[in-house]
Amino acid sequence: MGLGFLGAGIGAGIIAIGAGIGIGLIGKGAVESIARQPEASGDIRGAMILTAAFIEGVALIGAIVCILLALAIGQ
């Protein structure tokens, strides 16, 4: 039972690492391209939010799986 909670926790941690790397790279790309071409910042911001939403969606599916796992063990 304890190991199950550990699994859910480690899973949430790995999700955070993956999503962090992904969204970090998006932010890096967006900031760099805005610095290079400030007049295109509107378009870049739109594309940035769109891509971040895709990563966020996958990360949240993982987070929900971890929550459900922890709750299922707890019962």
């Binding site: 739109g46 939010i49 769109l50 939403a53 895709f54 966020e56 969606g57 949240l60 929900i64 709750l71």
Partner: protein
Amino acid sequence: MTKVLRCLLVTLLFSFIVSPVVLADTEDETSGSIDIMGKVADHDYLELAGAKLYLPRILYADGSLDIYANTERAVESGKYMLDNGILVRADGTPVAIDFSITSHLMYVWFGILLTLIMTLAAARRYRRGTGTKTEPKGVLQNLFEVFFLFIRDDIAKEYIPDNKHHKFVTYLFSVFWAIAFMNLFGLLPWGVSATADLTVTATLAGITFVITQFNGSKDHWRHVFMFPGVHPLVRLILTPVEILGLFTKPFALAIRLFANMLSGKIMIICILGLIFIFTDTFGAAFGLGSSVIWVALTSVIYILKAFIALLQAYIFTLLSAVFIGMAVEEHHHEHDDSSVAHVTEANI
């Protein structure tokens, strides 16, 4: 102005600190644990300031429709009984369809009602000439116009090509505000955010799915079933992937909204729950002291949630527009050299 706001913040903080500790004392006597999922789950009552308004139960079983004023009446009638909080038939036969009105459904209706009132009020003003012949008057109409232009020009026009966006602006605008209101209701005391329920978000995503498929152009369907410009053997793999892609899009749409709203809610309950845990483990004084940190943190998350509520409504609208735009788009170019671009497009 800032001084007033600062006073208000301090008062709110103080009242928030005191009330959890008072509750922490009473909580021990009753149950001893906080029911996190119970706070976010669907209920058969609306709660306001401790008073509960029970909602009607409508059940379809054995070819007949049973309508009761509330759960208690359904049990009293003898046809139904409660099993772990779920209403089941007393004679063991399964309930075919449960049409019961629940708290989440009520909040969906509240969201739709607010959107309806807002748009109808604005429409009446525009019909009278305010805003069309003269400048828009008042804060509300100006705000309405800002948001409407934002959704029409920056979402619909940009992502739905070939000047076809006019048909979809109404849907995108109303779905934006309905979701935004549903999300924001969760921030009110005793309020429930209906979007923290997978059935609600799945229904919303289903509407987007239906609109997308019914407005799909000939090119859209050809790309799904007969991908142009690739080897027939490759089509054997591509066609199932494309058909699967039709369904993964609304699925991701539903899960994203649901998970965002649910995790925000659970996060707030968990952080406030730390006060109870600390009071339990180290005593009331430590709980009271540590609550300064947790309440401040919760306040920050609360503000973040208000932002996320609007952001998620925006993302849902944006992705709906993107999916609709991908379906209605007509391809005017040669297919042979553009197949690579379509494969990447299909992966979204």
